[in-house]
Symmetry: C2
Subunit: 476 residues, 2 copies
């Protein structure tokens, strides 16, 4: 399997400071070494590359020849140019694995987004900064668990999760109007493992799976690994485009629709009550199961009327609900959960047992303590106030530097802002200056160019950062 | 996809106390409800079932009709009898998922093995009992980490793992003669996630993967989920059968061979130095990568000359080495690791990032503390003494009750004992009396009947258990 590389014209400097051929070689080398371009991928044809970048064909020929000479690219007679397998291990198995890499290769972007290393500002990051969270809340719970249950690491735990925690999670869900007995709740290592288990259990290679466009890019990569056909459904201001959804259901007969109702990533938008109802009726008609990723749900106060969860209408009849605490409590606690009907939970417990023989009871006991003492509820109330304030301030500040916000969300820390220019080159420029931006293309299932950026309101108020944005946008 | 159910004649009681038809209905109902028989699986034909169980065809017809009437089984014209999808959610997606279940359905056995619940004795369990481990060692490290790094749960961590721990792991590997810079080590949530990541990253559906026969049954289930073709290689007393291996390499062109050199599960046997060398040469000739699961390696003292790891010969050129601490330190610490060449580690870090956005730094810091203070080394030395003693005592005791041990391993807690009779019925009988036995069929890639049992020497010395075994074996 091969994949044609999309060239990125934004990366060429036409000021004449550096030869275009040299730039081409440098750019391809960088991307091959960073594994954005992976072994077995096909480079664009010479003509396509020349046309797309607006350079002479001779320039491309020269660049490709130099890449072949450097051993980075191989020419296959009659078929074109391909990224060569790295010299070192290069067993047939590894070579084949590289060639079979998913078509949505977000891994390089992912690594850069999720382990940014030495950045000064991370307005593109997804987690709240530690300063907004309550370190002492979680640390005191941890100390207390460490004192009270010294032998807890010596036991295997139950595959479905720590029983007292499942009871607390049932109460927590009841607070959002979702009725789920503890038996219908399965703990996981973060919402990430929750979604991973659901995909591994219910998605077979070739299955069509619906996702929102835009949505969280790790989801696309995970689905690609599972061999799913990713079918995007446009996300509108109040939820998925149901006309498109109906058509896509008929056309693709998808098994699952993975979506977020409350504080959707990256738009921050909310599913309306009317659309939620209509969506569930439509899903019922097409035998479509909805996987609700509610990791941001607690940013919307249950009593505020903001944020309708699908599971609170459907009551887990066909919705598979995934939640967690990485955004609101502690990124590294790594406790999430799935709530679903009995059969789904049984199937997921099976799969979970294969992935993780023992259930990690330490973080589950820490979370149990925080939930059962009512400290999570109070913490989240305070946190909402801080996030709401940051969101309003950041929205104003970003508009001031020249970004356009189609809407300011009612809750949560995400702002979806239009820069009026393709944002990947902007993000590349920012990265060189120690700033992590999240360009819109990351959130598109095919990584199509986008003029949007996702901002984390809690990390977007620094004057130096805002000055940088103002200057960068001004130049475009 | 369907699967023919293997009947189990051992389960029928021919004393006349209960009608055979009633027994058949009861047995099938139990197994369907316990999901041993899953939706979409085909029941044996009436003739096959009657012949196999030695009952009249009319008895089988009657039993099947009653199961159909109960809604547990459906009759498909011209095709036979199939386990019906459970009534409740039964969306097409779930139904299809159930039908697409892997052919090696170890999940029920797995759940029973790994979450045994209310057993009195667990000689079939794989972990050491808590009494043999050092609860205070791990608890004091945990308390110290909780005090010293209160904010550690608020950070994302690095996807490749906690850096100081990777340095300690490099030193630990050096102690076994394996040279691995910290950059070539990736931490995981136990050796289980290590193997899972390797399989997810390097095994595509349809790939042939070699396993040992017998071996650890969770591995078969995991490979089945990945869509691999499982190719068994007989395990001999001093390692895999290399004549068979050579033939299977030519025939199936496998990508990977997942195996254990030291204290192999379930046989406890050791790879000899000569066979290790020959195996690596053979693997090199066939472009076969070896995944070495060394979870039991620390049971063999490095200086004793017992236990040769493949990685200490190959130095991670083509071997992918997986290790962990669940067996020797604490089952629920959940820290394992992979050591491999740079490209393999890079590919695994990518896949890990998709599975677990944040790296769980809490248990990694706990392990770091135990390793860096030299306390693990001392603990394992003591533990080896205890395990060696238990193994010798248990071996004698098991032989006394009528089991035959072809060999007593040189290290580790596993004993592989021949009961002289098919052990699944024996295990079923034991389970009813609150005893967890591990029947040999569990360790066979096709779950073929076996007269062997795997014993955990550290859980096999109770007089009441030994009396039960003596009685049960005496009756057969």
């Amino acid at each position: 399997m091969t994949d044609t590389v999309v060239s990125d014209p934004g990366l060429l400097d036409r000021s004449g400071g550096q030869r275009l051929g040299d730039q081409l070689v440098a750019r391809f080398t960088e991307r091959i070494e960073a594994r954005v371009l992976r072994a077995g991928m096909r480079l664009p044809s010479i003509r396509a590359c020349a046309d797309e970048l607006g350079v002479a064909r001779a320039t491309v020929v020269e660049a490709y020849d130099r890449l072949v000479a450097a051993g980075l690219v191989e020419s296959r007679r009659g078929s074109g140019f391909y990224v060569a397998a790295p010299g070192e291990p290069a067993t047939p198995a590894l070579r084949a694995a590289a060639a079979a890499a998913p078509r949505v290769d977000t891994s390089w972007l992912l690594r850069n987004m999720l382990s940014p290393g030495d950045v000064k500002f991370a307005p593109g990051g997804g987690f709240l900064p530690a300063a907004l969270l309550d370190g002492e809340l979680i640390a005191s719970a941890l100390r207390s668990v460490a004192r009270q249950a010294p032998a807890l690491l010596l036991t295997q735990g139950r595959p479905e999760g720590y029983a007292p925690l499942r009871e607390q999670l049932a109460l927590h869900l009841a607070g959002s109007g979702i009725g789920a007995e503890p038996e219908r709740i399965l703990t996981t290592a973060g919402v990430t493992q929750a979604l991973d288990l659901v995909i591994q259990t219910f998605v077979a290679p070739g299955d069509a799976v619906l996702v929102e466009d835009p949505a969280w890019f790790v989801l696309f990569a995970r689905l690609a690994y599972a061999g799913a056909t990713i079918v995007p459904v446009p996300r509108l201001a109040d939820g998925p485009d149901l006309v498109a959804l109906e058509r896509l259901c008929t056309e693709h007969r998808p098994r699952l629709f993975v979506m977020t109702a409350v504080c959707q990533n990256p738009t921050g938008s909310m599913l309306s009550l009317a659309r939620a109802h209509e969506l569930l009726v439509l899903a019922g008609r097409h035998g479509l199961r909805i996987v609700e990723d509610d990791i941001y749900g607690d940013f919307a106060a249950p009593a505020s009327g903001r944020g309708v969860r699908l599971a609170s209408l459907d009551q887990l009849r066909s919705v598979i609900y995934c939640g967690g605490f990485s955004k609101t409590l502690a990124p590294n606690l790594r406790v999430g959960y799935v709530a679903a009907d009995d059969d789904t939970v049984a199937a997921l417990v099976e799969r979970k047992t294969l992935c993780a023989i023992a259930n990690p009871e330490l973080p589950e006991r820490v979370l149990y303590k925080v939930l059962s003492e009512g400290r999570y509820r109070k913490h989240v109330e305070r946190l909402r106030g801080k996030v709401d304030g940051a969101r309003e301030r950041a929205a104003r500040a970003l508009e001031k530097v020249g970004l356009r916000l189609p809407a300011v969300p009612e809750a949560g820390h995400f702002l979806w802002a239009d820069a009026g220019t393709e944002t990947r080159p902007l993000a590349a420029e920012a990265r060189r200056d120690g700033i992590l931006l999240a360009p819109g293309a990351l959130f598109n299932p095919t990584q199509a160019p986008s003029s949007f950026l996702r901002f984390n309101a809690a990390s977007s108020e620094a004057p130096e950062l805002l000055r940088w944005l103002a200057r960068a946008l001004d130049r475009r």
